[in-house]
């Protein structure tokens, strides 16, 4: 059998056939990024038409104290007494929501360090406190790495951890902590936290309980294309089994201030390529998300034409990527997100965490560049009122 080429892969995609590892590798090695993007865009438009999803969410990192020592992380402070280490009191964390109650987020996305000194009740109280303030807020909290840590640290099964958190208000799991599953990479960049298999197992349990989750991949450090492909194929296999993943979010490695600071960051072309290939390989994932914090809003706009159908949300106050040198803003105004999507020629759809439609905007029928003056005015108006 001959090695796959762009042409043979295109043929498979058009015929709706599943891509294998060799196909994906051919795409990673192909210089013609536009043809790959066009292929991914075709798949994306078949699934979602012109829609581009976003939500009104709030990122919160309540503690950066962490027992893990991931090489790529510029956020964690290993011990609670170290300079810059910070753990919010429950009142401080709840306050973040209370002050935004005149225009509240629909989702709170909490990601933390693995803090060894907090009681499990801290997390339960954190969630139930948010629910007390706003009963319908969706709590998308704690990566599989945190859940796995809770299980070990508080001597429970993963299922017990999840059940107690669900009882406290947990709505779904975010996709972080996946990094790269392959052990030869993972042991070198994050040896002392959940393994790839353990990460997948947490999601398997969550899915069995009816929780929806997301998945990520941290690329662009010491891994090879084969490692990325292996990661995607493992996600695809679990999704075949459970169907519980909603979105896949490729995350670019940012080198500032961490243990891999001498590595170059992946470039925009690599970002777009990885995103497009994810769309093509993950044929059983509904959504591919361009996380604008990682890629910058400008590249996220292009990504909406290279396979992505979701821009995440307003986020408000991101600190993990910013600790690693991200130059993106820490949050985007609602109207600003709508404008980004419209400028990319897509129809903005505000969704909730589970992809129920919250607000549908007028279809953006004008081709991507040719926005009419009146649309621009409408957008500017939006940016002002929100």
């Amino acid at each position: 059998m001959t090695a796959p080429t762009l042409a043979t892969v295109s043929e498979k995609v058009r015929a709706g056939e599943r891509l294998n590892a060799a196909d994906a590798l051919a795409l990673f090695l192909e210089a013609d990024i536009l043809s790959i993007g066009q292929l991914a865009n075709g798949v994306r438009e078949k699934r979602h038409g012109n829609a581009a999803f976003f939500n009104k969410n709030m990122r919160l990192e309540v503690t950066n104290v962490c027992v893990a020592s991931c090489l790529f992380c510029s956020f964690a402070k290993l011990e609670a007494h170290m300079p810059g280490a910070h753990t919010m009191s429950l009142a401080e964390a709840w306050h973040e929501l209370e002050v935004r109650m005149d225009d509240p987020p629909g989702e709170i996305h909490v990601v933390n360090g693995l803090h060894p000194g907090l009681p499990f009740s801290y997390y339960e109280d954190l969630l139930s406190g948010f629910k007390r303030i706003k009963s319908d807020v969706h709590l998308k909290c704690f990566t599989a790495v945190e859940i796995h840590f809770f299980a070990q640290h508080y001597k429970m099964t993963v299922r017990e951890v999840l059940e107690r958190l669900v009882a406290a208000g947990l709505g779904s799991l975010p996709g972080g902590g996946a990094e790269i599953f392959a052990p030869e990479v993972r042991t070198r960049i994050s040896d002392d936290k959940a393994t790839g298999a353990e990460w997948l197992e947490v999601h398997r349990v969550a899915h069995a309980m009816g929780l929806k989750t997301n998945a990520t991949m941290l690329y662009g450090h010491i891994e090879t294309f084969e490692h990325r492909i292996d990661h995607l194929l493992q996600l695809r296999a679990l999704q075949d089994e459970t169907g519980g993943f909603q979105a896949f979010i490729p995350l670019a490695f940012h080198p500032d201030g961490n243990g891999m600071k001498n590595l170059p960051a992946p470039t925009a072309i690599d970002d777009l390529r990885t995103l497009s290939i994810s769309r093509l390989v993950l044929d059983n994932f509904d959504h591919i998300k361009a996380y604008w914090v990682s890629s910058t809003p400008k590249i996220a706009q292009i990504a909406l034409r290279f396979g992505a159908d979701d821009l995440d949300g307003t986020i408000v106050h991101e600190t993990i990527y910013h600790a690693a040198g991200s130059t993106s803003p820490q949050g985007l105004a609602y109207g600003e997100l709508v404008r980004l999507i419209r400028e990319a020629g897509r129809t903005p759809i505000e969704r909730d965490t589970l992809y129920n439609i919250v607000r549908e905007f007028a279809p953006n029928e004008v081709p991507e560049a040719a926005m009419k003056v009146r649309d621009r005015k409408a957008n500017r108006h939006l940016a002002v009122v929100s």
Binding site: I33, S35, A268, I269, I302, A344, P367, A369
Partner: protein, 627 residues
């Protein structure tokens, strides 16, 4: 009451039979101008109907021809001549009359097809063109001047006769053109009436013209009655279509169709399909303004990108992306122009106004030398306190102290110096070159459509002035870049018109090295609101520019305004150059955009986009081996 119909026409003798009667019609405002200006007025919406040189109709691509009337010939025409001392096959340089693009393309076509020569072109005013003819240098001369001077030259080709002996068809120089929905059936009838009246009055017109010009009355009479034909029937349309086809075949004009105005339906027949335009574009064929506009509106991001990438690959098959190590130095921020989009300038007397001292400049230049840089890009505001001698001294000092190329002073600054010193542009450029100027940056072009320029910068030079400085610089052998800043009040059509103007000048001079574009960088507090500034619009616009500018070698990605990521992606949308490493760039960064890249990260991004990297100089010569 209906608004009067604005009609633009050439003022030549041969147009009089079509226009004389029209001037008296009520509801018609007739203005007369040179052919290129007539074309500009129709293109930029200042006229509803124009007696349009046919090449302008092809370049625009979407105009419709009124039936029945045109200016043409069947055989010898007498007023469109190629004058030479040598045989046509020996011509090496051709002065062309700037006012007449149709005659120029006809001459180039005939010389190429019938005599096998493609002479170097030199754009000159008519009078200069005549003086230019010597040895193997020839000139195309048209209009009344041609009638007057033809006998002084030993060799003259009557282009109408040449065309006829080649094709056996009539030739059409100009015809009434319009856009759909601008002319009612009743108004179209006025043109027929005027033609009939004008043809009947030819003897009277000849008499008046002969009295005014001193030309022999019989000669003028014969010219109007016999040499020029005013028909636009099936034969003329076939001749015109043949001219369009041959010109497109040889790359002189976009592929164009002769489309008649159908007053009933108010629209010309079906425009060409999008795929057809795209495949012609990818093959490197010349596109019309209408083709460009349609691509901008209708082609997908990928269609545009892939076509532009294909053109880039054909022009630069080595898969190399170049960049330059240079520094942008803004010698003064004092400026009298007060452009509404500019956050950098300070008015005269403002406490934040500055002029860089020799010490500061010297330090900046030394840093460039130390970093392996090859050039200084020197630009500034229009500071009335700096005379030409200040620049001459500065340039001499810079060139004698540092081994750096001097890419300096955009057209606006040259014009400012010319006005300040009461000198011609040519003299200013000659003195600056003598002092060390190596090349001219293409900034300040913005959009070369005066409607836009008036809106964003009232006191800025007009489009033709900007192009005129570049023409002069190119004629002197100075190379320049060219640019486009879009996204203020400009329409997609105006962007394409801008590109068409650059392409037209490049046909004439070949002096542009590269094209860069970027969107207006809005900053709070500046008086001009932001326009349509999406990232995708940038990629589409750059790709479209690569497709329109078939005669400009290089297209650069403006990472300074778009960010390194978008800049890198733009390398797959038709760009073959990554611009400059950035020491500093004050104008854009005062508008809040600030990105930095050094040579190593530039090379890294070029590699990651699938190209080899090469350092270049201002002429795009390679200074390093591809890595």
């Amino acid at each position: 009451m209906m608004a009067p119909l604005r009609v633009a026409a050439v003022s030549y003798l041969n147009a009089l039979p079509l226009t004389a009667g029209l001037a008296q019609k009520s509801g018609v405002v007739l203005t007369e101008a040179l052919p290129s200006e007539v074309a500009r007025r129709l293109a930029e919406g200042e006229a509803d109907v124009a007696l349009l040189p046919v090449v302008a109709a092809a370049v625009l691509g979407d105009v419709a021809f009124l039936r029945g009337a045109a200016i043409g010939c069947m055989g010898a025409v007498e007023s469109v001549l190629l004058l030479a001392e040598c045989n046509p096959g020996e011509i090496t340089e051709l002065a062309l009359d700037l006012a007449s693009r149709t005659s120029v393309i006809l001459a180039r076509l005939l010389l190429k097809v019938r005599y096998g020569v493609e002479p170097k072109l030199v754009g000159l005013e008519s009078a200069e063109a005549i003086a230019f003819v010597r040895g193997t240098r020839a000139a195309v001369v048209i209009g009344d001047l041609a009638l007057e001077v033809s006998e002084r030259f030993p060799r003259r080709l009557d282009l109408g006769a040449e065309w006829f002996s080649w094709t056996g068809l009539p030739f059409v120089f100009a015809a009434w053109c319009t856009y759909p929905q601008r002319v009612t059936a009743a108004q179209e009838a006025l043109f027929h009436d005027a033609r009939i009246e004008g043809l009947g009055a030819r003897s009277a017109l000849a008499e008046r013209f002969s009295a005014a010009s001193g030309l022999v009355r019989e000669r003028v009479d014969t010219y109007l009655h016999t040499s020029i034909r005013y028909e636009f029937g099936v034969a003329e349309q076939a001749g015109l279509q043949r001219f369009f086809d041959e010109s497109a075949l040889h790359g002189f004009l976009p592929q164009a169709q002769v489309r008649l105005l159908d007053v009933e339906r108010h629209r010309p027949s079906t425009p060409p399909n999008l795929d057809g335009i795209l495949s012609r574009a990818a093959e490197g064929a010349r596109l019309s303004v209408s083709d460009g506009e349609r691509l901008f509106h209708e082609a997908s991001l990928f269609d545009l990108g892939l076509a532009a990438d294909m053109v880039r690959r054909r022009k630069h098959p080595q898969d190399v992306v170049t960049f330059i190590v240079d520094r942008n130095v803004n010698y003064t921020n004092v400026c009298t122009t007060s452009c509404r989009f500019c956050a950098f300038y300070r008015p005269v007397g403002h406490p934040e106004g500055y002029v860089l001292s020799r010490e500061v400049l010297g330090q900046k230049l030394q840093e460039v030398v130390d970093a392996g840089g090859v050039q200084i890009l020197l630009q500034g505001g229009l500071n009335p306190e700096l005379p030409l001698t200040w620049y001459e001294d500065l340039f001499r000092w810079m060139k004698s102290t540092f081994r750096l190329g001097l890419h300096a002073l955009s057209p606006e600054e040259i014009l400012h110096l010319a006005a300040l010193e009461h000198l011609s542009v040519r003299v200013v450029l000659e003195r600056l070159r003598a002092a060390g100027l190596d090349s001219v940056p293409g900034g300040g072009a913005e959009i070369l459509v005066d409607r836009v320029r008036r809106h964003i910068a009232k006191t800025k030079c007009r489009s033709d002035d900007w192009l005129g400085v570049m023409r002069t610089a190119h004629q002197m052998g100075l190379r320049s870049s060219c640019t486009m800043m879009y996204g203020t009040v400009d329409t997609p059509r105006e962007r394409v018109l801008h590109l068409a103007k650059l392409r037209e000048l490049q046909d004439e001079t070949g002096g542009f090295t590269a094209f860069f574009c970027w969107d207006y960088q809005y900053e709070k507090g500046v008086r001009l609101a932001p326009g349509e500034n999406g990232t995708l619009t940038y990629l589409r616009t750059q790709a479209l520019a690569r497709l329109m500018l078939d005669n400009i070698d290089h297209v650069g990605a403006s990472w300074v305004t778009q960010g390194p990521g978008v800049g890198q992606v733009a390398l797959r949308f038709g760009a073959d150059d990554f611009g400059s490493v950035m020491f500093e760039e004050n104008v854009v960064s005062s508008a809040g955009t600030s990105f930095r890249m050094n040579a190593a990260t530039m090379e890294e991004r070029i590699h990651a986009a699938g190209f080899k990297a090469v350092r270049r100089n201002v002429r795009y010569d390679w200074l390093t081996e591809p890595v």
